[in-house]
Structures are given as C-alpha cells and as structure tokens.
C-alpha cells in the first residue's frame, strides 16, 4: 500500500488532543484507559481545558495526571472529595472532578465522599468500581462480590468473615445535595458511548451548579481477577452487573 493522504474530511475518529502521549502504566484490558479517554474527549468537546481541575486518587489511577493534559492535584488516599471541595469553593467558576477507585472512594474515603455529596458540592466524582484493590495486588475491596477470590479472601469472600459488599451509589442517591448518580460500564462499544454521555451530563450538572454528581463505572481488573481481558469482560457481565446494575440511580 502506498502513502494515503490524510484529509480532514476523511477523519472519522481521532485521539483527543488532551490525551498525552505518555505510555500508560495500566495493564492491557483494564478499564482505566478507556475512561481516561472519555474524560479527555468530554473536556475537549466542552472546551473546558482551561477551566478543569482533576483530582487523582491513591490506587492504580494515581498517575491519571500523566495522561490527560489538564491541571491536577494528587490527593491522599480517599480524600479527593475534600480536596475538590476546597478547590471548587475557592474557584466556583472551575470544573472540578475527582477520579477514584472503589477502595479510595468507598472504603477509606467514604466519609469525605458522603459529606461532599451531602453538602451538595458542585463537583463530579468518577468512581471506578472493579471490586478489588488493583495497585496493591488484588486484595478485597468493600465492593468485592460474595464468593469472589482475592489476595485477602483466598477462599472467596465469606460474609461471616469479611462482611457484605455495598453499593455506595445507592446510598449517595438518598442525599439532598446529590443531583445525579449513574452506574455505567465500558465493557462494550455501546456501553462506552453511554458512559461518555453520562460523564458529559455530570460535567454539565456541575457547570449548572446543580450539586454533586457521580458516575460509577463498573470496571474490570483482569490482572487482579486473574483473567484475560476478554474473560474479564464476560465475567463482569455475568457477575458484576447483576449486583451492580447499570443505569441512572438518580437524575434530577
């Protein structure tokens, strides 16, 4: 094949200009890269680069700041919503979002998450729920399903020993300060597109001053789950989605 001239009118898809060229540290098959891409696209399409401040968590996404070309603050484990609260209060014109995993947002950071939501802070939380602590090597998270094997539940999560998983999205939906809670996934192209629409809606809510929004993304951790990427997507559909059903939990 000879050289093909790249014409603007022929381009049907391009990488977001806000996605940096740094090589991603995420495992092949992990959902983080897809969600990063969606966030970058939404920020670019909404023209918000100079207004957006991201808060990265502790966990696999600690290096989110290496991939999206916006200003970032890296928070202590679980504290992203407190960090975001102050930034938004001091800069009401900015678009402030947190990017947190299930250990960060719904274990160690539960208090900061719930109170930011209860106060109705005009921030967006992107919540990656893969039911496991990925970075530290696959330990049980609060979201780990019953029976699921992890590094700290090697015989499967037993509620008598390890307690039950919980859905923080459903808890947050009860709070008056919350305007939008949705649960999405990125395990099929159709779900990727839906997830992007949800992220955009959350950002629009924040700009409109409607209160706290959270987009939960039910995600895969194929390394932690010890599966191939394809197996992980299937496992997500068969096991995660029955417990974490997709769709809007609250939308006002």
């Amino acid at each position: 094949m000879g050289e093909v001239e790249l014409k603007q009118e022929n381009i049907v898809y391009a990488k977001s200009k806000l996605m940096l060229d740094n090589v991603m540290h995420y495992c092949p098959g992990c959902s983080h890269g897809t969600v990063h891409k969606l966030i970058a696209e939404v920020i670019e399409e909404m023209g918000l680069q100079s207004k957006t401040i991201g808060i990265s968590p502790v966990g696999c996404a600690v290096f989110a700041y290496n991939y999206i070309d916006i200003d970032w603050a890296e928070a202590a484990h679980g504290r992203a919503c407190a960090v975001a609260t102050a930034i938004k209060r001091l800069h009401p014109d900015k678009m402030v979002f947190t990017y947190q995993g299930d250990g960060d947002l719904s274990a160690i950071g539960t208090c900061e998450t719930i109170h930011a939501a209860a106060r109705g802070e005009n921030i967006v939380a992107i919540y990656i729920n893969n039911a496991i602590y990925g970075m530290t090597g696959g330990q049980m998270a609060p979201t780990t399903l019953l029976g699921m094997k992890t590094a700290t539940t090697p015989y499967g999560r037993d509620p008598r020993l390890n307690g039950y998983p919980y859905k923080i999205a459903d808890m947050l939906a009860h709070l008056d300060g919350v305007c939008y809670i949705t649960r999405q996934s990125v395990h099929t192209p159709a779900n990727v597109r839906k997830c992007k629409r949800a992220i955009r809606k959350a950002f629009e809510n924040s700009l409109a001053g409607k209160g706290f929004s959270m987009v939960e993304v039910v995600s895969t951790c194929n390394s932690g789950w010890k599966m191939s990427p394809v197996q992980a997507n299937e496992w997500l559909e068969q096991n995660m989605l029955p417990f974490y059903p997709l769709g809007d939990v609250k939308d006002i």
Binding site: Y65, D71, W72, A82, A84, T85, I87, L90, E112
Partner: protein, 364 residues
Amino acid sequence: MAEKEVKLMKGNEVIAHAAIRYGCDGYFGYPITPQSEVMETLMELKPWETTGMVVLQAESEIASVNMLYGGAATGKRVMTSSSSPGVSLMSEGMSYLAGAELPCLIVNCQRGGPGLGTIQPSQGDYFQACKGGAHGDFHLIVLAPNSVQEMHDFVADAFDLAFKYRNPAMILADGAIGQMMEKVTLSPQRPRRTEAEIEEECKSWAIFGKTPDRPRNVVTSLELRSEEMEKINLRLQAKYKAMEENEVRYEAIECDDADYVIVAFGSSARICSATVELARNEGLKVGLLRPITLYPFPTKVIAELATRVKGFLSAELNAGQMVQDVKLAVNGAVPVEHYGRQGGSLFTPDEVLQALKDKIINRG
C-alpha cells in the same frame, strides 16, 4: 478599609480577625475545645460578604486538612485551626502538604494528652509540631505565640513564611493563650490577592486550569523512582537548612549578664518572665531565652549562651520535650534540666524558680 483598632479579645477570636485582615482566602475547620471560637468568630463575622474569604465547617479534621491541600494547591492563602487530638488527625495531611510543598497555616491550640486527655492547656505537642509528627523527613515552620497580640501578628508572619518557602506553617499556641483575653492592636484590612496576582506569583506550580501558554501543573508528593525521590528529599532538606539560617526568631530577656538561663516558649515563657523578676530580686542573675520559632530552633544562640552561663532549665508544660533540643544545642557544655507540669496544669513563677535552684543552681 478598617484602620488600626485596639480591642480586648480572646486569643482564638483574634486568630479569626487576623486571618480576615491578612486577606486569607479560606478557612476549613472542625470544632474542638479549646479553640472552637476561631470558627465561631469567623462565622459571626461573615467574611465571605466582605473580603470574599471562604469559611467551611468540615466533617472532620481529616477533611479540613485535605481541604487545605486543595485550597493551597491553587495558590490561595488557606488555613485551619484545631487542638491536639484534632491535629493528630491532620498529621497525614501535613506530611502530604510538606511533600507537595504547599504553603498554608495550621493553628494548634494545644490541650493536655495523650489520647482524649484534657481540655486544659498543655505544651505536649512540641515533638509532634517540631519533629515532623507524621511519616517522612519534613518540617513545619512552627511559631509559638506568648500573647494575644502575637496570636494576631503570627497569622501574617506564618503565611508570609509559608509562601516564602512553599511549606506548611503552624502556630503552636495552647489553651491558655487561646482562651485568655488581652488588649490587641488589630492590623488594617489588607485586600485579598486577586486571581491575577496569585497566578503571577504561583503559576510555576499551582493549579488554576491549564492554559495554552504553559505546561499543565501537577501538585503531588509522589515519585516512585528512588533516585528522583532522593533529589526531592535533598531539595526539601536544603530548604529547611535555609530556614535554619534565615528564619530563627527568639526573645532574650536579661540574658546578657545571666549565670543561669530558663528556656521556655509560649504561655510557659509568659510565666517564666515573672520567674526572672523574682530571681533578680533575690540577686540571682537569671535570664529567659524564649524561642519564638520552635522550628527552626534557636540552636546557635543557645550554644553561644552555653559558653558563658552555668546552666539551663527548660520549663515546659509537658514531660520534657524541647529540653532535648536545648541539650543538643548545649552539647554537654553545662548542665541542662527540665521542669514541667502536665495534664493541663500550669506552673507558677515560684515553682519554676524553686526548680531552677534545686536542679541547677544548688545541684551537687
């Protein structure tokens, strides 16, 4: 613009007035005795209607210190206040603030510990304030006020030092200074810095939203490559060294001809200034060295005094904490002893003088 005003106020109330008048951008706090008047006064003064200062009651000290992290990351002048158990909850955040080199102000109005302890005054958090108090090699800049006026003045001084060195600063007060009422001269209202001024001052590191004219800014304390992390540590240590060279503050009372020197800070120093008078009335040549900056500590001036006095008494409202720094400075040249009360009890000037006689002057 308010002119200079002289008022009778509690130390904690003054912190609130001084913060507003300094042009502080945000206060994030959680109630705890004996410092709750700071946030109560701020809420009563409603600075968001005048200077535009944000005041927010957080759900915990963990949240408030992380709000400080967020606010400071944008180059704003932000502060919190608490008392000992609450400051312990902030210690993780203080390490992150120091690691990310974020300037901010934390006021600790100390009470007696350990644990829930008492709500009475104490100086039991000297180690926590001056020796890091959390993980990793770092220092806070620590200022110790001994009067309501200094509570006022040190708000501005602490913010100035914090921004000069991009490092968190602490006012280490105690329940006595926070609760007592004294005459105070309030400074005139300064305008808060404009967004343009903050961007100009902090554009190399703070986050305001990335614009095309600069690379993105990332506020973080993370660096997984050990050789790079070591460089960061060395840079931090060089900064602390510069503080030790340039920012030491102390007050020396009757030290010039002294045979014996009491070292005391904050409310203890206030008590010990009366001890000096009592001693001088008895013909004893006693001086008082009051460290104003606890970090950086006045090591050199104490070492110099050690060449010409016969002994030191470190008088503290604790079991003996600052005395370790006095001993390091004196380095064995002359005797150094500690005298203290604990659990929220204060000592009297007479008790300190008696301790000086028993432990130093009349020692065998």
